[in-house]
C-alpha cells in the first residue's frame, strides 16, 4: 500500500489492519490492551475494536495460552492475528510453536493448516531495559515449517502484513519498535535517497541497495528490520567520507532462509558483513555466514564479518544500552576491516 504523504510505520500498520479487517471476515485480532481507546501499547490497533468489536479481543497477561488459543482458532478455519505486546514474551509461547503450531500440518498429513500471525515488536534503543528491548528472532530461526517475516522502513510494510495474513503457514511478523515512529521510505525511480534499489521476490521481497547503481562495490552487508537504517547510515558515511561503495541486502523473509540475492551480490563484491540487532552468538549472521561460505567460498576474498549486539543483557540506561547494541560505527568498522576494501 503506498500513499503520497509520508507515513510512519505505525500508521501504515494500522491502516493495513483496517483494510484487512474490511476485506476478510475470518480475521480476528487479540492481545493485551488492544482495545480502544488505548489501541495497544504502540497504537497499532487504534480504532480497530471500535470498528470491529466482535473481532478484536483483549486478553489477560498469559502469552502461553494465547498461542494455544491462536492455534485452535487457526485449526478451525479462522485467521487469528496475535499481538504480543513486547516480543520478549514470545518465549512464553514457544512450546506451543515448537511442539504444536509448527508441526500440526505435517503431523496431520496436510489435512490442516495453521494460518496464524504473531505480531511481535522487537528491538531496543528506547531505554526499556533487559526484558523489553531484545531482538529474539534467532530463537525462531531454527524452527522448521514456520515463516519469520521482518518489516523494515524501506519495505512495503502493508503488503508484508497482508501477505502474512494470507499465508497458510504460521508467520511471526517482527516489527522493530523504532519502525513505528519512522517514516516509511519506499523506492522511487529505483532509488531511495541517493542509493539505487532493486526489489525482488514474492511475497516477502528482498531489497538490494547500491551506492553506484550496481556497477561496483567493495562489500555486501546483509541485514533486516530495525538494523537497516543503521546499515544505510553506515554505507552512506563510507561513501561520503571515504568513497567506499557497498551493497546492502535487506531481507524481509528470515525463515525459510533464501539467500539467492545475497549470493548474487557477494559474487559482485567479494565480501560479506552481516548486521543484526540481536546478540551475536548463534544468530542470524552466524547462519548466513555458514551458508554463504558453503555456497560461495570462491567468491569471498575475506572472512565474513558479523555485527550484532554484545552477548549480554541490555541495560536500561541509554548510554549503556547504546554501548551494547550495534551502531553505525560498528558497521563502518566491520566493513573497513575487510581485506581489499581500502584501495
Amino acid at each position: 500500500m503506498s500513499t503520497a504523504a509520508p507515513r510512519r510505520g505505525v500508521q501504515v500498520l494500522n491502516e493495513t489492519l483496517h483494510a484487512i479487517f474490511a476485506e476478510r471476515d475470518d480475521v480476528v485480532l487479540f492481545g493485551e490492551d488492544v482495545l480502544d481507546p488505548y489501541g495497544g501499547a504502540f497504537k497499532v490497533t487504534q480504532g480497530l475494536s471500535d470498528a470491529y468489536p466482535d473481532r478484536v479481543l483483549t486478553t489477560p497477561i498469559s502469552e502461553a495460552s494465547l498461542f494455544g488459543v491462536a492455534a485452535g482458532m487457526a485449526l478451525r478455519g479462522q485467521r487469528p492475528i496475535l499481538e504480543i505486546m513486547f516480543g520478549d514474551f514470545i518465549a512464553l509461547g514457544l512450546d506451543q510453536v515448537v511442539n504444536g503450531i509448527s508441526k500440526f500440518r505435517e503431523m496431520y498429513d496436510d489435512q490442516v493448516t495453521v494460518p496464524l500471525v504473531v505480531r511481535a515488536p522487537m528491538g531496543g534503543r528506547r531505554g526499556y531495559g533487559p526484558t523489553h528491548s531484545q531482538s529474539l528472532e534467532k530463537l525462531l530461526l531454527g524452527i522448521p515449517n514456520i515463516c519469520v517475516v521482518a518489516a523494515s522502513e524501506c519495505h512495503d510494510v502493508g503488503a508484508l502484513l497482508t501477505a502474512a495474513v494470507d499465508d497458510e503457514r504460521p508467520v511471526f511478523f517482527i516489527e522493530n519498535k523504532l519502525l513505528y515512529g519512522r517514516t516509511i521510505r519506499r523506492p522511487e525511480d529505483g532509488h531511495i535517497g541517493e542509493l539505487a534499489v532493486r526489489e525482488s521476490g514474492d511475497p516477502y521481497p528482498v531489497l538490494t541497495f547500491s551506492a553506484t547503481g550496481f556497477t561496483e562495490g567493495s562489500a555486501t552487508v546483509v541485514t533486516y528490520g530495525g538494523m537497516l537504517p543503521v546499515v544505510l547510515d553506515a554505507v552512506t558515511e563510507l561513501v561520503l567520507e571515504h568513497e567506499i561503495f557497498c551493497e546492502v541486502v535487506a531481507l524481509s523473509q528470515l525463515v525459510p532462509m533464501e539467500l539467492d540475492v545475497v549470493l548474487e551480490s557477494v559474487a559482485r563484491t567479494g565480501a560479506l558483513v552481516t548486521a543484526e540487532e540481536g546478540t551475536l552468538t548463534g544468530g542470524f549472521g552466524a547462519e548466513i555466514a555458514a551458508r554463504v561460505q558453503e555456497a560461495a567460498w570462491s567468491d569471498l576474498r575475506a572472512p565474513v564479518q558479523r555485527v550484532a549486539a554484545r552477548d549480554g543483557i541490555i541495560p536500561s540506561a541509554r548510554p549503556l544500552e547504546d554501548d551494547m547494541l550495534p551502531s553505525v560505527d560498528d558497521v563502518v568498522k566491520a566493513i573497513a576491516a575487510l581485506d581489499g576494501v581500502r584501495s
Partner: protein
C-alpha cells in the same frame, strides 16, 4: 520568555497530535488559560499557558508533534517578542544532514578547488570524485578553443582587465633584430633616458616622464609603457611576448617580472623586491593582468605558469604568495600535479603572507586574512581566514546614513589635528571647517555651492556646478570636482589613506602638507 513544551505522558509513544489551538497566534494569553488541545495516546488534554503574555505558535493544527518539542513561546514583554522574531529570522537554513548530502568529501574538495558548483550537477545518486574529474575534463574541452591560451578559459567575471589587454597587437612591436643583438648588461648600464631612447628607436611605445631606474632591464617583443611609469632601480622585466604598463604605475627596487604576457593597468603601486615569474613562466598560458590602482606589496611573489588575473584596486599585500602549480611526484603513482589559474576579482584584498594556491579565486571585495591559505573559491564580499581559509563573515559592514555622515564629518577633525601636528598653522574649527594657507577646508553633507573661494570641500553628495576657486571632493561619488593646489593634493592624500580613491585618476601624491 516562557515555553510550552509537549511533555511525555506515555513511555511507548513518541508523538502526540496537536489537534487544535484555542487562541489565535500572537494573542494575549493569561496564566493558566487553556491554549491548545493535544491528543495523547491515552486522552485528549488541554494545555495551559504557563504565564501571561503574547503567544507565538510554532506549529499549525492537526499535526503530529514529537514529544518534548516546544510548541509555542509566551513572550512576557515586547522586547521578548522582538527577540523571538529576531531569532526566527536569524535561524540559518537547517544544515544538510548526512542523508541529504549528495557529494562525497573528495568530490566536494575537488569541486571547491576548481570552483565548480556541485548544485548544478544533475545526477541520480552520489556525486563522486570521478564525476567531478569528468566535469573538469569536459569544462576544459569546452573552454580552451574559445578563449585561447592567453586566459586559458579563465572567467574574467568580476575582474576589470587593464586597457592594455585590448591593445592592437601591432602597438609597440620591437624590431626583432634589436632584441637579438641586445647586450643585457650594457643596456642595464645605460641611463633611463638612454634606455627609453633605445627602446623607442626599436619600435617600443614609451610615454613621457618614464623612469627606468638604475640597472634596470626591459626586454620584450612588444613594449608599451605609458606616461609617468617608474621602475627600479635594478628592475628586470623580461617577457616572451608583451609587456604593457599603464600611466603612473610604479614598482620599487629589485622588481623581477618574467612571464609570457604582462598587462599592467594604470596607477598601480608596487613595493620593493616584487617577484613575478617562477616555474613555468614561459608557458603558453603564462599571462599576468593587473587592474588599475592595484597594490602589490613588498616581496610579493606571483608564480605565473597559468593565468593570474588581478582586478582593479586589489590589495596584494607584503609577502603574499600566488602559485599556479605545485611540484609533485608522479601522477601515475597517485600524486597530485596541479596547474590552475588564480584570480583576484576587483577590490579584493589579500593579507600579509597569505598564500593563494593553484585554482584559488577571491570574489570581488572579498578579504583573505594574513597568513591564510586559500584553496578554492572565496565568495565575493566575504571575509576568509585560516589554513585552509574558511569564510567567517562579510568583508565590510553596513553603515547607517547617520554613521556615514558622522565618520565623514570627523575627517575634518582628524585632518585638522594632523596638519597641526605637522607644524602647519591652522585656524580653530568652526562650522565643520578650518582655514590653512588662506584656503578653507570644510565638510558639508551635500555641496550645493555657498562656500566662498578659495576652498577645498569634503562632501557626500554634489549637486550643480562647482564655483570657481573651489575644489569639491565627492567622497561617495569618488570624484574630484574643480582644481586646487597643495591643499587639495594634501586633502586628497588624506582621503586616499582612508581607502577613498578619486577620479580623475590615476593620481600620485606629489607631496605637500602631510
Amino acid at each position: 520568555m516562557l515555553e510550552i513544551v509537549l511533555t511525555r505522558e506515555d513511555a511507548n509513544t513518541e508523538y502526540a497530535l496537536l489537534a487544535e489551538w484555542l487562541v489565535e497566534d500572537r494573542a494575549a494569553v493569561a496564566a493558566g488559560q487553556p491554549v491548545c488541545v493535544v491528543e495523547t495516546t491515552k486522552a485528549t488534554v488541554e494545555v495551559e499557558s504557563p504565564g501571561a503574555g503574547t503567544i507565538v505558535q510554532l506549529y499549525g493544527e492537526d499535526v503530529e508533534v514529537e514529544l518534548g518539542k516546544t510548541i509555542a513561546y509566551v513572550a512576557e514583554s515586547a522586547d521578548e517578542l522582538a527577540a523571538i522574531d529576531a531569532k526566527a529570522e536569524e535561524k540559518p537554513a537547517p544544515k544538510a544532514a548526512a542523508g541529504d548530502r549528495k557529494a562525497t568529501r573528495k568530490a566536494a574538495e575537488l569541486a571547491e578547488l576548481h570552483g565548480i558548483d556541485l548544485s548544478t550537477v544533475e545526477k541520480r545518486g552520489f556525486i563522486t570524485e570521478r564525476d567531478v574529474e569528468e566535469l573538469i575534463v569536459a569544462q576544459k574541452a569546452a573552454a580552451v578553443p574559445a578563449a585561447g591560451p592567453a586566459l586559458a578559459g579563465v572567467s574574467t567575471s568580476g575582474v576589470s582587465l587593464p586597457e592594455a589587454f585590448e591593445l592592437d597587437e601591432t602597438v609597440g612591436a620591437v624590431d626583432p633584430a634589436f632584441l637579438e643583438s641586445l647586450d643585457h648588461d650594457a643596456f642595464r648600464a645605460l641611463t633611463s633616458d638612454e634606455k627609453v631612447g633605445a627602446l623607442r628607436g626599436a619600435g617600443a611605445q614609451i610615454g613621457e616622464g618614464v623612469d627606468l631606474g638604475e640597472g634596470s632591464l626591459v626586454v620584450a617583443p612588444r613594449v608599451v609603457i605609458e606616461d609617468g611609469v617608474r621602475l627600479g632601480p635594478r628592475a628586470t622585466v623580461v617577457c616572451e611576448e608583451v609587456v604593457a604598463i599603464g600611466e603612473l604605475s610604479q614598482f620599487g627596487a629589485d622588481l623581477e617580472l618574467r612571464c609570457r604576457r604582462a598587462y599592467l593597468g594604470a596607477g598601480i603601486w608596487g613595493g620593493r623586491s616584487v617577484r613575478i615569474g617562477g616555474g613555468g613562466h614561459r608557458d603558453p598560458w603564462a599571462t599576468l593582468t593587473i587592474g588599475d590602482l592595484a597594490f602589490v606589496g613588498d616581496e610579493a611573489f606571483v608564480n605565473v605558469c597559468r593565468p593570474v588575473l588581478i582586478g582593479r584596486e586589489v590589495f596584494l599585500t607584503m609577502r603574499s604568495l600566488i602559485v599556479t602549480h605545485n611540484v609533485g611526484h608522479s601522477v601515475l603513482e597517485g600524486f597530485e600535479n596541479r596547474f590552475a589559474p588564480v584570480v583576484l576579482e576587483d577590490r579584493s584584498q589579500v593579507g600579509l603572507g597569505a598564500v593563494l594556491y593553484a585554482g584559488a579565486r577571491v570574489g570581488a571585495e572579498g578579504i583573505v586574512a594574513s597568513n591564510s591559505y586559500v584553496v578554492g573559491e572565496i565568495p565575493a564580499g566575504s571575509f576568509a581566514i585560516g589554513v585552509p581559509a574558511k569564510v567567517t563573515g562579510s568583508s565590510s559592514h553596513k553603515l547607517s546614513e547617520a554613521r556615514r555622515v558622522d565618520l565623514a564629518r570627523r575627517f575634518v577633525d582628524d585632518l585638522h589635528e594632523l596638519l597641526a601636528l605637522r607644524g602647519h598653522e591652522v585656524s580653530a574649527i568652526e562650522d565643520d571647517g578650518f582655514e590653512i594657507e588662506g584656503t578653507r577646508v570644510a565638510f558639508v553633507e551635500s555641496y550645493r555651492g555657498g562656500v566662498d573661494p578659495p576652498a577645498v570641500v569634503l562632501a557626500l553628495d554634489v549637486r550643480g556646478d562647482v564655483a570657481e576657486g573651489v575644489a569639491v571632493l565627492d567622497l561617495l561619488g569618488r570624484r574630484v570636482h574643480g582644481s586646487g593646489g597643495v591643499v587639495l593634493d594634501s586633502v586628497r592624500e588624506f582621503c586616499r589613506k582612508r581607502g577613498i580613491k578619486l577620479e580623475p585618476g590615476p593620481w600620485s601624491y606629489p607631496g605637500g602638507l602631510i
